[in-house]
């Protein structure tokens, strides 16, 4: 008997598989070891927007990130913890001195400008609202420091709170505000100084899941209205893809990939991004329709390529068999072993090792029929049409 189980469709929010899209028109990508960036899709603006190369040395850790953005752009710095995203943000704000590189905003050099003189607004991860001041005075703080009279600053702050829908909370101290309200006060406080560069450090991380959904939508609206450059730091791919026009993926202090969210989701270039967007990713050498992987077997693809390539396919494209399927061609058929099983949405995600390490999604029923358990041998197949190969 040949147990057969096909993963049912239902892509979750992380799975963005490109089914047979042609390998053209992708976003600009950067090889992992070459962070030198040339031309972003928005086009470099010598007079307007952000043009920065941030180099910060911290003992064994070195940050070297190039960032450019036009006014109106929302750029997300995405990366795992410890990648240097927050350091990059602090360098933009002037809270960390640059060890090298340059920082220009609207054509003005800011390298040596102290943080209090930069036209930069920051929304900190836990907001850092001044606990002894009311929401109104928190927002009025910036205008006041920049020379407005007390009455002017308060009037301005009241206007911002009104725009954020917080007029009735103007007198409340930060500890009386909910997470979502505090986030909006922090955003109003940062915007009240009319910054030319808005920085947001993990703007949604401090919120619970339900508030997050609502605040994310509001934040998206406010960022869309913002006419200058916004840079946000996040480790959450969903936040990054919803809020930003362009993603810059940072790993180990380097830019490993950047481009439009959709392109990055379709064509990940590192294991980290592949995991984030829920794809199996391999690097290999293509010769026609066959890609010989650097480590392991070959994969047959629909694309006709040559040279170094990436091959990606979603876990839902994998079909598992308990025994070697009869009459099946040997192409894209691998003998594996179950390393682990965990619930994934309404499905089961199987983590496989063996000839080709991969993740496969299947229904609970299918997993039961196959008798899957850690250590169980399985055969995995993927149709060539479900794979996607692109130049590395």
């Amino acid at each position: 008997m040949t147990g057969r189980a096909k993963a049912s469709g239902g892509p979750d929010e992380g799975d963005m598989n490109d089914t047979g899209g042609p390998a053209t028109g992708a976003g600009r990508t950067v090889p992992a070891r070459e962070p030198a960036v040339t031309e972003p899709p928005g086009g470099r603006c010598p007079d307007g927007g952000l043009d920065a190369r941030l180099v910060v040395d911290r003992g064994t850790f070195r940050l070297d990130v190039t960032l450019t953005a036009a006014p109106g752009d929302v750029v997300a710095l995405l990366g795992p913890n410890g990648a240097g995203k927050t350091t990059a943000l602090r360098a933009l704000a002037g809270l960390v001195p640059l060890g090298g590189g340059h920082l220009r905003l609207d054509g003005t050099d800011l390298d040596r400008t102290p943080p209090e003189s930069r036209p930069v607004g920051v929304v900190f991860q836990d907001y850092l609202l001044f606990p002894h001041l009311s929401a109104l005075d928190n927002v009025a703080f910036g205008p006041r420091c920049r020379g407005a009279s007390k009455a002017q600053a308060r009037a301005l702050a009241a206007g911002w709170l009104d725009r954020m829908g917080l007029a009735e909370h103007a007198g409340a101290k930060p500890r009386r505000l909910s997470g979502g309200q505090a986030q909006r006060v922090a955003l109003a406080r940062a915007l009240a100084t009319h910054p030319r560069l808005l920085l947001l450090d993990e703007p949604l991380a401090a919120l619970d899941a339900r508030t997050r959904l609502e605040v994310r939508a509001q934040l998206r609206r406010h960022l869309a209205e913002f006419e200058a450059v916004a840079v946000l730091v996040t480790h959450d791919p969903l936040d990054a893809m919803v809020l930003a026009d362009r993603l810059v993926v940072v790993e180990h202090g380097r830019v490993v990939q950047e481009g439009a969210p959709g392109d990055i989701a379709r064509r990940p270039r590192t294991d980290y991004i592949a995991r984030l967007v829920g794809l199996n990713l391999y690097r290999g050498h293509a010769d026609g329709h066959t890609v010989r992987l650097d480590a392991g077997p070959a994969i047959t693809t629909t694309e006709n390529l040559s040279g170094a390539v990436f091959v990606a396919f979603p876990p839902s494209a994998v079909t598992l068999y308990g025994e070697r399927p009869e009459g099946a061609s040997a192409r894209n058929l691998w003998r594996c072993e179950v390393a682990g099983l965990e619930p994934h949405g309404d499905q089961i995600r199987a983590d496989l090792t063996g000839e080709l390490p991969l993740a496969a999604d299947l229904t609970t029923v299918a997993a039961a029929e196959l008798g899957l358990h850690p250590g169980a041998p399985v055969w995995a197949t993927v149709k060539a049409t479900q794979t996607h190969a692109y130049p590395a």
Partner: protein
């Protein structure tokens, strides 16, 4: 004692080797205060306390202790900020110097003050020659002596509060356009206010009780440099009843301060 009436469930009994010394220590701390109350000349007390000498000494004590506290705040809070928020070579050494008066015998402090600010002192001779200012054996001298002894309490307390306060609030203020001083004044200072208040009360209490440095540097002139502790000491020589009465006043002031501390600041910190 512990055999007697096992406490509920028996798990929480206090071991005798800890209980006995603890009670002895408590008794040792309380007995002198009880003795003070027992032997107080309650009948003569109203007369004792309304004598002009007592009021003079008390007024001078409060004035000098308060002045010393204000002086400590003015220079001590910035000093604490410097120690907590900046890096400079020898900071650990400076910090040790600041705390030295905490452990230095106050009499030694008084002698050192004389050598510095005395009429022939290192600085004092110039103060006298240029400005005609004489510090020793004046009320100002009392304030200086008390400040010398009390300020470290304030500095240590404020520095501890500053270290516990999140420096990122200052960063947030900076990104909003505040200079470092504005950030300190408008953000940090309100945040550490409870710590400053606690430190000020500690310093004030220490200044109020100051004896050794004061008598060495400022002498013992009624109405000018004779504070309450000096008056108590003097009274003990020839009028013990008056000494007890004066001590009771100081005890009452101390208890009031402690009560204020507990209600307002101890809980906050």
């Amino acid at each position: 004692m512990s055999k007697h009436g096992p406490r509920r469930s028996g798990a929480r009994t206090v071991p005798v080797p800890l209980l006995v010394p603890a009670l002895a220590g408590l008794a040792f701390l309380l007995l002198p205060l009880v003795a003070l109350l027992v032997r107080a000349p309650w009948r003569d007390l109203p007369d004792q306390l309304t004598s002009p000498e007592v009021w003079q000494a008390l007024r001078l004590s409060l004035l000098c202790a308060t002045s010393a506290t204000v002086l400590s705040l003015v220079v001590g809070v910035p000093l604490a900020w410097l120690l907590a928020r900046t890096e400079f070579p020898g900071r650990g050494f400076v910090r040790a110097l600041v705390t030295l008066p905490l452990v230095l015998p106050p009499v030694v402090g008084g002698v050192a003050l004389l050598l510095a600010f005395g009429r022939n002192g290192v600085v004092g001779q110039w103060l006298d020659a240029w400005f005609g200012i004489t510090l020793p054996f004046t009320t100002t001298g009392v304030v200086l002596a008390e400040t010398f002894v009390a300020m470290p309490f304030l500095v240590i307390s404020v520095e501890g509060t500053l270290r516990a306060a999140d420096p990122r609030f200052e960063e947030a203020a900076t990104t909003l356009g505040a200079s470092r001083f504005t950030a300190f004044r408008r953000v940090t200072l309100p945040l550490i206010a409870p710590g400053i208040a606690a430190g000020a009360v500690l310093a004030w209490a220490r200044a109020l009780g100051e004896f050794g440095a004061t008598i060495t540097f400022a002498g013992n002139f009624p109405g000018r440099t004779q504070t309450m502790p000096l008056a108590v000491y003097l009274a003990l020589q020839n009028d013990p009843a008056a000494a007890i009465a004066l001590s009771l006043v100081l005890l009452a002031v101390s208890i009031a301060v402690l009560a204020g501390l507990r209600d307002r600041w101890m809980r906050a910190s």
